[in-house]
Amino acid sequence: MGGKISTDLIRGHTVTIILNILRHGDSYGYDIYKQIIALSDQQYELKEATLYTAFRRMEKEGYITSYWGDETQGGRRKYYRITDEGEELYQQNREDWGFAKEILEKLIKGGFGHDKA
């Protein structure tokens, strides 16, 4: 793990990250957690506590729905599914991210060409 992502930076994107996972199929807490680690090439871990809090809020706001799996061994899993509203929010956030990334790149790295040694 080289750098790190500050909590402040990731906070605004937790919902979008979860929605992105769920776009590829229904999933449950621990599996979503593992998928996020895998997607980041083991560079980033989103805490499960953050995930569970986000699930509850997202479900209340209608971006995801949940249902219980029918596992017979080891307890039932609670699966989450993205809704149409969730998909819409994902597309919007994705667009916003593209824009923000471009502008931030300019603001953080850019210059007017006269400060270089």
Partner: protein
């Protein structure tokens, strides 16, 4: 091996129960506990594959979840709401049940006493009408108790509004009572009308006012 698994279940259960120990019961809490238990267990199994002992794996799994205090607070608020709601509605249901019973008994009592006096030939008419005041009280109590009751299809009416409905029913009935007793006491019809008039007018006015202003208590679905 099976005994072993049960042991892990119990340890996770104990941790989760401890975490939410001071949180009031609610359906959501019940569901969240099950969700957390399943996920923690799966994580422990994964850690064990990396040559950890079960206790180490459990400890590691719990630490790595992160700070659950936000979730606990959230659940605590839910539990409080649920408790308040059930106490409130069961109190109302109890008051309503008691009111219906007392109302029916009062009406019956009034009817029986009136009937009894009616058949005692020596008693004048005015005395026969007297006990019907119990019937009026009974109807007032019944009206109130039925309106505040929450049913499958309708929410209970609020208490002030129910009270006003009960009052208007009482006034209208009382006007009949006043008219009847005045007629029986004086034998004059105009006295009867004049004494019941004011109660009818106020009662009907109140009733119409209530009828025209209420909102829909029907439950959706």
């Amino acid at each position: 091996m099976i005994r072993h698994k049960k042991d892990l279940d119990r340890k996770i259960q104990k941790y989760i129960d401890g975490l939410f120990s001071d949180v009031g019961e609610s359906q959501e809490l019940f569901d969240l506990k099950e969700e957390l238990t399943t996920n923690i267990k799966e994580k422990v199994m994964d850690f064990k594959k990396r040559d950890m002992t079960e206790d180490e794996a459990l400890k590691e799994a719990i630490i790595s979840i992160g700070d659950l205090s936000g979730l606990v607070n959230d659940m605590r608020e839910r539990g409080r709401d649920a408790a308040k709601k059930s106490v409130y509605s069961s109190m109302t249901a109890r008051i309503s049940a008691a009111g219906v019973i007392a109302g029916v008994l009062l009406v019956l009592f009034g009817m029986f006493v009136s009937a009894m006096l009616y058949f005692m030939k020596a008693i004048p008419g005015i005395a026969v009408a007297g006990p019907s005041i119990f019937i009026i009280c009974g109807v007032i109590l019944l009206t109130y108790s039925i309106l505040i009751r929450e049913t499958k299809k309708k929410f209970g009416m609020n208490k002030i509004r129910s009270g006003l409905y009960a009052l208007s029913a009482g006034l209208i009935l009382f006007s009949l009572y006043a008219g009847l007793t005045a007629r029986l006491a004086t034998g004059e019809m105009y006295v009867a009308i004049s004494s019941s008039m004011i109660f009818v007018i106020v009662g009907i006015g109140l009733w119409l006012g209530l009828l025209l202003t209420g909102n829909d208590r029907k439950k959706s679905q």
